[in-house]
Amino acid sequence: MRHNRLVRFISSRLLLTAITAFFVSMIVFFAVRAVPGDPALNVLGLQSTAADREALRKVMGLDQPLIVQFLSWLGHAITGDFGYSYSQGRPVASVIGPALGNTLLLGLTASILAVIIGLAMGNAATSRWRGLRRTTDWIEAVFLSAPQYTVALILLICFAVLLPLFPAGGVSTRGNGSVADIGSHLLLPAIALALAPGAQMARSLKTSISTLQATELLPSLRARGLSPIRISVHAHHNALPPMVTVLGIQVGTMLGGELFVENIFSIPGLGALVVQSVALRDYTLIQAVSLLIAVIFIVVLLLADLLNALLDPRIRVGQL
């Protein structure tokens, strides 16, 4: 019975995710296809002959009805074939590969930082000292609304230009791939991406803990002689599911922020690739990278949901 519900929960989430991904790919495809201008002209340039352009249009499949083009594009994309990038002179898939790795590395570093910031600030915001609570409130307000690229530029100027403590760009020093080296390259951009998500998680943790403080759970645990650390573990376990949801949603903010932050720190990731392909008007590449970013976000949301089902049994049996 219980097993059945879990299967049903997971399969319904998977189905919903697939449907969302389909519509998202539709938006990506048609938004880019609606760009005024002839894609063939973009590739071949103004000097090309009409016959050449016509031939390329055939190769690109542009003579087919739009819906056929869309389904064929989607079909190929699912099998990992995103077409050919004219600006890079390579198949899109081979351009995306390394960029995806860099973006995931930066995103993961930022997520870990965000969790640390969230835990620290959430606890500070519910501390017994009024001064600390007030200060955290202010810091939270700043973190929540500071655009990531402004934070990135301020960090870059302060800690890479004025005080050259960290490298100003790239993922690693050439010929040095050690963890410490990569870490020093990723720290500043990761902080820039992690502040807002961290503050959002802190907010969620604060709400959970103060709701909990209004109940008798904590005093009763104290009365039973549990150590402060054990009590804190209990309090955080309850706060976890909403924090996971917030982190999932905030990954979207991070992915969006990476468009600018990767650019500022010259990190060759998906975000930098989007911006680059926009500048070069390489629409095949824009479509592929946008789809990939959107799909990463959808998958993260799905994972957050599933993780929550594991953490909070009430969710999977549908009592919440």
């Binding site: 938004a31 880019v32 409130d137 609304s145 402004t150 903010t253 992915l255 969006g256 959107a294």
Partner: protein, 300 residues
């Protein structure tokens, strides 16, 4: 007599503990926390400066003196220095703020109107209409906002008008969702049922019973969104998808000042600080409105 007075005093204290009652009578502005009032004041000053920009004694923001390029902060005649084309930074920043405020406010105002209509209609209708509308909204939520705005900005082409249109499309979904949530909270309350059973039309209920209740919360939310929108507009300008040059816009000014990143870091920091200030101001004001509505002095 004394006992009555002390009883009254007790009542006064009790009311004091329930701010809702005490605050109702005070104007919205004074119910806001101090930091929101400060933010509102700064915004007002900015708006006045920006509106009066053409009559203020500012240099031409488009024409520079090539002999005085990248002057540092505090130069004679150029208090905030000059950019790489010798244009006065004070003037550049004032005019850029003007463009950015338009690009920040206009989309949110339009999106709030459309989102409010979609959200309240979906919320009040319920059933199939609600499902269809809200599922469509959910699909838009599956996009990181920046990415969606970037795609739309590419599709619609560069320019202030198209930028506003693209950003409007981005913000309809979030506003609609908040409006729907607000309406869903009151949909089955007795006074709505009463209006329905007394023969009020759907638009009538929407206008008289629903909107007055949902509007304040939606407005507070929308005000906060202006900050995020200014940030995204600036980001798009930063990567060349905003308002085309030479018209100054904070994002493109930010991009141009990157040339001074190593030679004069503080100079390149100027537009960053203006964007930061603008993006933080609106959430503070929005928070203030929210707290004023909720009648609570504490955190939201």
């Amino acid at each position: 007599m004394t006992s009555l007075a002390s009883a009254n005093q007790g009542a006064a204290v009790a009311i004091d503990r329930a701010p809702k009652v005490r605050f109702r009578s005070r104007p919205v502005l004074s119910r806001m926390p101090l930091r929101s009032q400060i933010a509102l004041g700064v915004l007002l000053v900015l708006v006045i400066v920006v509106v009066l920009a053409p009559v203020l004694p500012l240099d031409n923001p488009l024409i520079g003196d090539l002999g005085s390029r990248l002057l540092p902060i505090g130069s004679v005649d150029h208090l905030l220095g000059t950019d790489s084309q010798g244009r006065d930074m004070v003037s550049r920043l004032v005019y850029a703020t003007r463009t950015s405020l338009i690009a920040g406010l206009a989309p949110i105002i339009i999106a709030t109107i459309i989102g409010l209509i979609i959200g309240t209609v979906a919320g009040l209708s319920g059933g199939l209409v609600n499902t269809i509308l809200m599922r469509a909204i959910d699909v838009l939520f599956a996009f990181p906002g920046v990415l969606l705005s970037l795609l739309l900005a590419i599709t619609l082409g560069v320019g202030l008008g198209t930028l506003i249109l693209a950003l409007t499309l981005v913000w309809i979904a979030p506003v609609a969702r908040i409006a729907e949530t607000e309406v869903a909270r009151i949909r089955d309350l007795d006074y709505i049922t009463a209006a329905r059973s007394s023969g009020s039309s759907f638009p009538g209920i929407l206008a008289r019973q629903v909107t007055p209740v949902t509007l304040p919360a939606v407005l507070a939310y929308s005000t906060s969104l202006v900050g995020a929108n200014v940030a995204i507009a600036g980001g798009l300008g930063f990567i060349g998808l905003g308002v085309p040059s030479p018209q100054p816009e904070l994002g493109s000014v930010l991009q141009e000042m990157q040339t001074a990143l190593y030679s004069d870091p503080l100079l390149s920091l100027e537009p960053v600080i203006v964007i930061l200030a603008l993006s933080m101001m609106f959430p503070l004001i929005g928070d203030g409105i929210r707290q004023a509505i909720n009648g609570r002095g504490g955190d939201s």
